[in-house]
Point group: C2
């Protein structure tokens, strides 16, 4: 980040947004007015005003950090967004595209021609271009590729080869390397000659002549060391490093646990390839948290708040369809017992309680297990212990809540047997919820899947159908 | 972080855990054996083996980073945890206590006496002690407080005065300050004299004689600047800064948007109070994500995976109770229509479909809004637009899925009117879900509450009771 952007970072985003919106309104007002007049005269008073409006809007945008522009673009409806986007300084285009959400990025890219896109991409580093690549038309990517210097082409090719959740995808190439046998004084002189260090440089990487990583030299150490010692004497020899194919999740864990700012990425042979910075890690964490939240309710993509309706419908389609199937299944389970319900209609009113509380309890269990898995708190040997514990919790809950519900049921329907059946069904469905709530995420994890994906829908499907079956089955056995 | 911990950070956590567990098993085995023998003879062969076992366990633990020890303690059952905890080097106690989850921390603290606790706390900085303070007995806190030097006492008092979600709670006091009028060369000499810089120092803070913040001097700039220029010439004058009472969420946003490593915290008068580091921000983000996930299903606290059953029961209590009340309410809604169900028992089998799909769709809406609020994408003026969009999506979904469900219903029950009522009820319940799904989080946000808390339970309550009422009501009107 360069300093020009720092200018008004302490101002509130909402107030920046309001400023842009009010300038935009003024611009749109005059624009509409000019169009209404439909006059060929170019020296109209409105057009002078409009020039001023434009200059104001441009000026306000120029003063904003690209990340702020990105946020503002996400917050305004599509039509306004495209007007504002056109007035963003071309040299900020690349960074803004990097910062916006995937959904909004698409709307912006659709509005740009190939030349603009190539120009925007060329402002970025190889690893950043790789992040944009999936959204860019292939002819644009070809042009970008051809325009890059040899070394960066290699980097871009490398960066694009990693899967999205690998460390390689978080990596950048902004490393400063030094040799172990030089003196600190020489390093200091070398840095001064460079004139500028890459953002977030907290350590230099010490390599041998084969580019194998020997250790790292923290700037903090560099600054306080005797200029006459050698790099080897003050470097940290054993340092956190990753392979490009390591899971990104592993890197974020290490950054969190060991409080890192940057870490080296090396080839299996130990050759330095690049580095991961804490900011790439933060972005990944945010995206991951976002993905998890959306996955649990079955939103398949990031959704632009102002997306056209058909896009939103498509985004939510798959999951509603699955839900409909499970709901139909539950409905057929009830259908099996229509005779029983006809004889004792209270069953219809009571059955959602059994299903609902079971679902809620199952969701608590599954959430706890998913969180523990995400935080790496579940070791391979603890499955049985976890099931035992959850079952125990369910038994307690089942007895207490089941008992309470039984009493209420008796109070309402004056039917002791019905109350007992209700209590027993609650207990059994809570046990089912606990058992399945532990097993679903652990099994998915073992199969290498995301333990959170759709967990909520699955557990609810089990506790609904299971709850109806248990309750209506018991009622049919004992009451009729 | 000092280098001694770096030693084996590239080793996998699971393998570290397995090593500790196997050493622990060996220790426990012999311990059990010795107890069985019940012999007073101290020179037993077992006790020699046991000494070796102990030394091995201690040695393995000593080599681990405190953060790794913390993770391992979280992953093993209570009984083993306390054995391992006793063998952790006393000088690591403080850091381990900081790193473990709240729930596990309690189990560790319960196992320590006051002296050990005071010793552990004294290894920590004032801001870290403040993090532990809520879990420490008050007599321990008094002792710790008394043992601190004057300056740190002040810091501790300050740190403890901030609410948990304020920037002040993330702040530490490890700032290096310099004056603007000194030359870079002098700064370099000053740093060398300090001998060690605080972790994560990426910039020095430039203050005037009243300790008012003038700007910051990035180490990256410091290293490449001409030693004869003054600090003022190379410092960044306008820098991101926070007030201690700013929302922590605001700081995490800024760190993410502007890719910061550290940022200054100043008093309303502009006096430098401390700094926030990116690592405090990451920890906060993790905890926040964790809190959100738990909040949605009503787990009131972090839960130790191996907590005693009664503790887990208590943790999940409140929400199940709320859920039970809403389920009872829904049940009473059905109870209103028992006559209708008696006449047409198919209603009982169909009503959960209407409620279920409505709940699912509502959860999608609410999750999207909550995410957008968390990412700051919702501006004050967009409520109406959001409702309009969600309603439109619901109309499309309602027509498509409602139509489909109507056809299936007809296919199963051979009753056209029933199919039509089913379709209409689906549509109406989806509309209700969209409307409430937007309104709940936006209203809570406006009232200054957490928009995520319990959102899932609330929307489900509305779509269940609402769905039953709409469907059974329509059926009673048109079919009977």
């Amino acid at each position: 980040m360069t300093e020009e952007h720092h200018e008004n970072q302490d101002e509130n985003l909402e107030s920046k947004l309001q400023k842009i919106i009010s300038l935009l309104q003024r611009y749109k007002l005059v624009e509409g007015f000019v169009r209404l007049q439909d006059t060929p005269e170019p020296e109209l008073i409105e057009s002078i005003i409009q020039k001023q409006n434009l200059a104001n809007l441009r000026g306000a945008l120029d003063k904003l950090h690209p990340a702020d522009i990105a946020r503002i673009l996400e917050m305004i409806p599509l039509e306004d967004r495209l007007i504002v986007w056109r007035f963003v300084k071309a040299e900020h285009d690349g960074e803004v595209l990097l910062e916006v959400s995937d959904a909004v990025r698409q709307t912006l890219i659709e509005d740009m021609d190939s030349e603009e896109l190539v120009a925007a991409a060329e402002q970025l580093d190889a690893d950043e271009i790789a992040d944009l690549a999936p959204d860019l038309p292939s002819d644009v990517m070809e042009d970008v590729f051809r325009a890059l210097p040899m070394e960066e082409r290699e980097q871009l090719r490398a960066a694009m080869s990693f899967s999205e959740d690998a460390v390689g995808a978080l990596m950048d190439f902004d490393v400063i390397i030094v040799r172990g046998n030089v003196r600190i004084e020489v390093v200091l002189r070398y840095l001064r000659r460079l004139g500028e260090l890459p953002d977030h440089t907290d350590q230099l990487f010490v390599v041998d002549r084969n580019e194998h990583l020997q250790g790292t030299l923290l700037l903090n150490r560099l600054l306080v060391s005797d200029p006459n010692t050698t790099v080897t004497e003050v470097m940290t020899p054993k340092t956190v490093k990753f392979l490009p194919d390591d899971k990104a999740e592993q890197a974020t864990d290490a950054f969190e646990r060991y409080d890192l700012i940057t870490a080296a990425v090396v080839s299996p042979e130990g050759k330095l390839l690049g580095r991961v910075t804490v900011n790439a890690v933060i972005d990944f964490m945010r995206e991951k948290a976002d993905l998890e939240a959306r996955n649990q309710v079955g939103l398949s993509e990031e959704e632009d708040l102002f997306a056209p309706v058909w896009k939103s419908v498509r985004n939510r389609w798959a999951w509603l369809a699955i839900n409909l199937v499970t709901a139909f299944f539950a409905s057929r389970v009830i259908g099996l017992f229509e005779n029983s319900i006809e004889k004792l209609v209270a069953l219809a009113a009571l059955m959602p309680i059994v299903a609902g509380v079971g679902g809620n309890s199952g969701n608590q269990t599954i959430t706890m297990i998913v969180r523990a898995l995400a935080l790496g708190q579940v070791s391979q040997g603890s499955t049985l212990k976890l099931i035992t514990k959850e079952i125990s919790v369910s038994i307690v809950n089942g007895i207490v809540w089941g008992g309470l519900v039984g009493v209420f049921t008796y109070a309402i329907y004056q039917n002791i047997q019905l109350g007992l059946v209700m209590s027993l069904a609650m207990l059994l469905n809570l046990l089912l919820a606990a058992f399945v709530g532990v097993l679903i995420p652990l099994t998915r994890k073992k199969l290498g899947r995301d333990p959170a994906l759709g967990s909520s829908v699955m557990i609810t499907a089990v506790t609904d159908s299971g709850g109806f079956f248990i309750f209506l089955g018991l009622a049919t056995l004992f009451l009729l």
